[in-house]
């Protein structure tokens, strides 16, 4: 590799041209892993200063051109020429390590990739996304987290795993996404109504998990991750191996990937949370074949997770919940163990995916994607039935199996005279089987179909986008009469048209403005229609309403961005009007069972609005010192009851400083950062819905440091983090455990990523 000088700071300059040697103005040039970005000037030139010697990659993209990447090894000042090819079928592409950007180009998108993704490795998907502006997480304890976009979550946030819509029991706030974050190297979040492209449930937004494209160059490469964390004594390992064949098997490539994770009881500043361990084992296999314009892909993945439920969080009736809340410390023993006893949940999610795409030489792409998911969720309660039959005692108290088949045909037209776009047909069908000691939700079968078209027109610096979609849903629910035991069914159908209109204006390579108005819809979920029973974890008796209609949202967003040499900032403001928003309203009379008195809630629908602001800023105070700031503010209002909307996220502010140290002793890009996260108390709460007041605000400090170590031709990324440095005891409004216990305390994490 060569000898590195003590503090080797170099200047990397270059020029971006097209195939005819004309300079390209306003091209974005990204330097990895330094996370530096600049824009070419009127002469097509760019410059990066104080670049440490060693391995880097330059990525360049510009309007109307295909993105390119150039790996290079820097051992002194260097000048490069980047030649861009005109894009055959893609516009506005931000290509870093995937071919396909989110298909709604005027929507507000936030992304997690590169170093910020590395800093989240080992955490669940909900936890990892929490740091993006506009996002929060709703939790049930330390390891169960679901992403919240602009105040909404669960089945108002759609999860798409490499082009396949994730289907599980996502209606439950204790049902975390059944996806291993390690399968993706880029996670994009569309914030706002996106039903026009993705169908039902994309009300608050869409989380897109995108793996890297399979390799094309001959040889074998991969990554190995090793992660250790002190809180919960968690260990995680993930490895990915990929390769491409040459000669007679040319065009064939593959990837094998797997993750193992094990944690024991987590600890708050004052005590251990007993029975909060987790065990996870996932793997995936991908095979791809490329021949001329045809690509064939096959994919198989498995996610298996066993998660303990804190013994102190098993509440019974309201009186019990209030007495648990009143005690400062949970009345449970406090010690560390990896053992997971009842109550625990076991989730197994299996995905089979096959896709075929054809790109003719003159442009355009036709892609057919088929998927099959098998989602099995079993809940094992500590409260066993009074029975001595060992078979019955070994069973889970609740078991849900959801099998979904999806099929999607999308045609992306080649861009011609400024026009581009896509259209398609999508469909999916699910069958749900429920078994349990008590009724919770019924069996059902659904069929869903949609047809959409999205068109874009680029006129000088402005891009216009418009789209339209029609969705049809058919649902049949199977039940058994409790008295006659006769089986019967009920059938429902839903029709919805959604659309989007937007524009993006890119001015002089520094400013961009995006405005978008879109509609989205969501059919009522099975629990909102048919739940009837006690929800023990929040001491409530829930009653569904089978006459509920679809929710419809109209979302308007405005996004402003500035990218300069020293300052990069983004502000997104949005206003989301939801008609027929489904939520639980308290009933006047509680329900009394032998277990005590439970407040009763009926699912109903009202009109609400949610508005907010997401802002992020990065300012290079000094050459090597950067100030980062993020703010997420959400305001929800229930128009029907003229009061605040329940369970909206608190105002959240993140501020930090990152110092880039000079490279030394073979170590590259070392950095140290300190961050403060401040969450304010939620004061906008309607009366009578929550029996326990929101917790106070809190402020946490995190420290993060890392560097890159080149190892022969390969690379080792090292990351060290201390979260909640001051070991502050606090509770978060969106964590269900706030009724019972504090959040976890200080946590030391080390992450190693070896790439070869």
């Amino acid at each position: 590799m060569g000898v590195f000088s003590q503090a080797s700071r170099n200047t990397l300059t270059g020029i971006v041209v097209d195939k005819d040697q004309h300079t390209v103005v306003s091209a974005y040039v990204h330097l990895f892993p330094d996370s530096a970005v600049t824009v070419t000037d009127t002469g097509g030139r760019f410059r990066f200063t104080d670049v440490p010697a060693g391995v880097h990659t330059l990525f360049c993209d510009a309007l109307g051109y295909q993105g390119i990447s150039l790996p290079l090894t820097l051992a002194g000042d260097r000048h490069v020429t980047l030649t861009l090819a005109v894009a055959a079928n893609e516009l506005e592409e931000v290509v870093v390590n995937s071919r396909r950007p989110p298909e709604l180009h005027t929507a507000t998108v936030s992304e997690l990739k590169g170093r910020s993704l590395l800093q989240t490795r080992g955490a669940s998907l909900g936890e990892a996304l929490k740091q993006l502006p506009g996002l929060n997480s709703v939790q049930t304890g330390p390891s169960l987290s679901k992403p919240v976009i602009h105040g909404l979550h669960s089945n108002r946030v759609l999860l798409v795993n490499d082009g396949v819509r994730q289907q599980g029991q996502q209606w439950g706030s204790e049902h975390a996404p059944e996806i291993d974050p390690f399968v993706a190297n880029r996670i994009s979040v569309i914030k706002g109504a996106a039903s026009v492209r993705y169908g039902s449930d994309a009300i608050a937004g869409v989380v897109l998990m995108t793996p890297d494209e399979l390799p094309t160059a001959r040889g074998i490469g991969g990554d190995v991750y090793l992660i250790g964390a002190s809180n919960g004594r968690m260990g995680a390992a993930s490895a990915s191996l990929q390769g491409a064949f040459g000669k007679s098997l040319g065009g064939l490539s593959w990837r094998a990937q797997g993750t193992l994770k094990n944690a024991g009881n987590f600890r708050t500043p004052g005590y251990y949370l007993i029975n909060t361990g987790l065990q996870e084992g996932d793997f995936s296999l991908a095979l791809g074949y490329k021949w001329k314009g045809v690509r064939l892909n096959a994919y198989y993945s498995q996610y298996n997770n066993k998660l303990g439920i804190f013994s102190g969080a098993e509440s019974g009736n309201l009186k019990e919940l209030l007495s648990k809340f009143a005690s400062a410390v949970p009345a449970t023993p406090s010690y560390f163990s990896y053992k997971i006893d009842r109550s625990y949940q076991v989730v197994n999610h299996e995905l089979v995916k096959a896709s075929a795409s054809y790109e003719p030489k003159k442009g355009g792409r036709l892609e057919l994607t088929f998927g099959r998911q098998n989602d099995l969720r079993r809940e094992y309660d500590s409260d066993l039935p009074y029975n001595n039959n060992p078979e019955i005692l070994a069973k889970p108290q609740l078991s849900f199996r959801l099998i979904t088949h999806t099929l999607e045909l999308v045609y992306t037209q080649r861009s011609r005279k400024g026009f581009s776009g896509s259209c398609g047909l999508t469909g999916y069908t699910s069958g749900n089987v429920f078994e349990g000691i008590r009724y919770l939700i019924p069996n059902f079968r659904d069929y869903n179909g949609g047809a959409f078209a999205i068109e874009r027109y680029q006129l000088k610096k402005v891009m216009f986008e418009a789209g339209l979609r029609y969705d049809y849903r058919w649902l049949r629910v199977y039940r058994r009469d409790p008295v006659s035991l006769q089986a019967y069914h009920s059938t429902f159908d839903y029709n919805n048209v959604t659309g989007t209109v937007g524009a993006t204006y890119r001015y002089n390579g520094h400013f961009n403005v995006s405005v978008n108005t879109g509609t989205a819809w969501r059919a009522p979920s099975i629990n909102e229609l048919y739940i009837n029973g006690i929800h023990f974890s929040d001491a409530s008796y829930q009653i569904g309403d089978s006459s509920l209609r679809s929710e419809r949202a109209l979302n308007t967003s405005l996004s402003l961005g500035y990218t300069g040499a020293r300052l990069r900032m983004n502000v997104d403001v949005y206003y989301n009007v939801l008609r027929n928003y489904i939520y639980e309203t308290p009933l006047a009379n509680p329900v009394t069972t032998i277990g005590g008195t439970f407040p009763a809630f009926l699912y109903t629908q009202d009109n609400v609005n949610i508005k907010g602001l997401d802002a992020s800023l990065e300012f290079d105070v000094l050459k090597h010192l950067t100030f980062q700031s993020k703010a997420t503010l959400v305001r929800g209002f229930n128009e029907t009851i003229h009061d605040h909307l329940i369970y909206m996220p608190c105002d959240r502010y993140e501020n930090g400083l990152t110092y880039q140290l000079p490279g030394m002793a073979g170590v590259q890009s070392p950095y140290v950062s300190v961050e403060n996260v401040s969450v304010l108390k939620q004061t906008r709460v309607p009366p009578n819905i929550d029996y326990v007041p929101p917790p106070g605000g809190y402020s946490l400090f995190h420290v993060n440091a890392g560097f890159v170590l080149p190892v022969k031709q390969h690379r080792l990324d090292v990351n060290l983090a201390v979260n909640n440095v001051a070991n502050v005891a606090y509770r978060d409004y969106l964590n269900h455990f706030r009724y019972y216990a504090d959040e976890i305390g200080r946590n030391f994490t080390i992450r190693l990523k070896y790439s070869f």
């Binding site: 019974g316 088949h405 069908t429 078994e435 035991l485 032998i594």
Partner: protein, 189 residues
């Protein structure tokens, strides 16, 4: 050629979508699990220590364990003589079955992690002492048998709770979760 391709794709699409979803397992709705014992009834039988003929029975019943109907509390009371001691047996029954299934024995088998607690309303002159013990080390009270000692005449609520305390039983009522929580009216005359 293009049109044929599209038609072919559409038919492949429809076939794929339907052939694998033909199993229809969801139509077979599982009947209620046999052998699941619900708790429907809490019964208190109080026998006067000095007068075995004075036996009082109170019963709290909700036959449909998980629905919104009101429980039957018409017999959820005990008429006790003042200044007396009663030996009380607490029973838990599943009256959805005929004959009624006595779940008390199963609770007794699991006594090492169950506790019955008695919460007396202020103003009611009653004291409760549990008289049975489990096989923990040291032995802890269970509460399926208790002595009720009455004082002056009066009326008030007695809340009877059955606590499920796996690995956390220490004699206190706080740990664990509540399996039953019912109220009886105690009338002392």
């Amino acid at each position: 050629m293009k049109k044929v391709h599209i038609v072919l794709l559409m038919s492949v699409m429809t076939c794929l979508l339907f052939w694998t979803s033909c199993k229809k397992e969801e139509q077979a709705v599982a009947p209620p699990e046999p052998g699941n014992e619900f708790l429907t009834t809490v019964e208190l039988v109080a026998t006067n220590a000095n007068d075995p003929a004075d036996v009082q029975t109170g019963k709290w019943v909700k036959l449909n364990p998980d629905d919104t109907s009101a429980p039957d509390i018409s017999q959820a009371f005990l008429n006790l003589k003042k200044n007396a001691v009663y030996h009380v047996a607490v029973s838990f029954l599943d009256e959805t079955q005929t004959p009624a299934e006595d779940v008390t024995e199963e609770i007794r088998e699991r006594q090492n992690y169950h506790l019955v607690c008695f919460d007396i309303a202020p103003g009611l002159d009653l004291t409760v002492h549990r008289t049975d013990h489990d096989t923990n080390t040291p032995a802890l009270e269970v509460g399926l048998e208790a002595d009720f000692t009455t004082g002056d005449a009066g009326s008030g609520d007695l809340e009877v709770t059955l606590h499920h305390q796996p690995n956390v039983k220490n004699g206190d009522c706080a740990p664990g979760s509540i399996d039953a929580d019912v109220n009886f009216t105690i009338n002392i005359n």
